[in-house]
């Protein structure tokens, strides 16, 4: 697909508390189409919670998240609009990868050709007959990506898609994300592998302790950072500097 103008993501004043923990606090940012937006933050900073609020899986205490102006739950064909990889989403261990994809293709109303395309794009076709219970972590990530792509969505929300991937898998994912963005899609991806993200992300959203600490283009954020040695700053330098300034909640 080549969406001429994909939907963007808009997060406005999102807050969420789990018991005594303020997971996300008054968080606002936008994700533009046609590029990869890196979503960064230390462990426990609220990235996954924010992504799940965008996807309607977690109900915010305050604020809103919309995709193309609509909350996820009100999208008429959600998996044709948004594809998502959730960090720990699973598959039934007794099902083959083909069964898993067939199940969600049926549920989403996607034709067989979409299933074959998603499996081919992600390399799942090479192990489609294997049961999910026997997959490596990298294979599970590819299966999750294939599930996200079943509806050929214009928006992708990917929570730690590089987890468990080997160097070849990382290189493949980088090229894959770049291609999705070139096609005009909106791609929001969280990752701790900053060196990989630096090569593929156009924009960045950085949070710490559930609060926004920076948002903007990669180039602007790199340009605003300084290193002690005077060398060109890396994304890691930017990230460590910005998140170190943020006191714990």
């Amino acid at each position: 697909m080549s969406p001429a103008r994909a939907a963007g993501i808009e997060v406005r004043g999102l807050s969420k508390r789990f018991g005594p923990v303020q997971a996300v606090q008054d968080l606002s940012f936008q994700v533009r189409p046609g590029g990869v937006t890196g979503f960064l933050g230390p462990n426990g900073s609220g990235k996954s919670t924010t992504m799940r609020m965008i996807l309607g899986l977690v109900r915010p205490d305050a604020g809103s998240a919309t995709i193309g102006g609509m909350p996820y739950g009100r999208l008429t064909a959600p998996t044709r609009t948004v594809g998502a990889v959730l960090g720990d989403a699973g598959a039934h261990p007794a099902m083959t990868c083909a069964d898993h994809l067939r199940l969600y293709a049926r549920m989403g109303g996607h034709p067989r050709a979409s299933l074959e395309r998603a499996a081919a794009l992600t390399g799942v076709d090479a192990f489609a007959a294997r049961r999910a219970g026997g997959l490596s972590t990298g294979m599970r990530q590819r299966l999750a990506l294939a599930t996200a792509l079943l509806g050929d969505p214009e928006v992708l929300v990917l929570d730690e898609p590089s987890n468990g991937l080997d160097p070849q898998g990382m290189a493949w994912l980088r090229a894959f994300l770049a291609r999705l963005a070139e096609e005009g899609r909106t791609v929001l991806v969280s990752s701790h592998v900053l060196s990989e993200l630096q090569q593929v992300a156009r924009d960045l959203v950085i949070i710490a302790n559930g609060r926004l600490v920076a948002a903007g283009s990669m180039n602007d954020l790199l340009a605003s950072a300084r290193t002690a040695s005077g060398a060109a700053p890396t994304l890691e330098d930017v990230f460590l500097t910005l998140t170190a300034q943020e006191p714990p909640a």
């Binding site: 789990f18 996954s48 919670t49 799940r52 996807l55 309607g56 899986l57 977690v58 109900r59 996820y72 739950g73 999208l75 959600p78 998996t79 948004v82 998502a84 959730l86 720990d88 989403a89 699973g90 598959a91 039934h92 261990p93 007794a94 099902m95 083959t96 069964d99 898993h100 067939r102 199940l103 969600y104 049926r106 549920m107 989403g108 109303g109 599930t147």
Partner: protein
Amino acid sequence: MIRSTTAELYRFLASRLWLWSLLAAVVLGGGFTAMFAFVGPENFDPPMPSLATGEGVLMMLGLTTLTLFVPALIGALAVTGEYRHRTIGHTFLTEPRRGRVLLAKLCALTVIGAGYAVTVSVMTLASLYGATAAAGTELGASLGHVLTALAASSGAAVAYTLIGAGIGALARRQLVAVGVVMGWFAFGEILTLALPGLNAAYPYLPGGASAALTDFGYLADTVAAETGRATALLSPVAGLLVLLAYAGAAGVLAVATSLRRDVT
């Protein structure tokens, strides 16, 4: 809704739950009936009426109601499997209206429960007629009576599948749902029936309602013999309605509570 329901049926068939369900239906319907028919109810301890009598045949068929925890477990496992294997996120992303997800599961489990019940009935029928023919016993009930009794048991099995699904949707955790189903069958109903004051509620509990539907009040009769307190059951139709009301109530409660919880 049709799309979601067929997807849920596909989920059941693609996992191994269908195989365990089929195995249970064959063993409980065919194996036990054949064994009981070969032994002969008149040789049980305490003895029951022989299969040469209408009462004996209907009591024999009524014994299948003692295995109604199996379809309840099938329903509970089918729903809680989504939480156990962490597929519920994918499912809610594909169909964000969570009430519809549960409704599709209940529609699919109605078909699955009916399939289980038909398998049990066919196996029971084949074993009953096969075993009695081999033993040279002439059944004391007509085929019509036998089919009517099996239809009532089948209705109870479908309703129990849905009750199990409702319990699964409420509990979310598979171990809790299985514990509730088994605990209720093993202890809950017997306690309710035996405790003075509480036994008046028995006709409105799942066991009492299924006993009314199948006209097989083994548990009520046993407790009445022990305690001297007889409990009157509802009519068969009222029994079926009570069972369906339990399934509906569990589903509505799940939509209002557990299904609204965050998927973290």
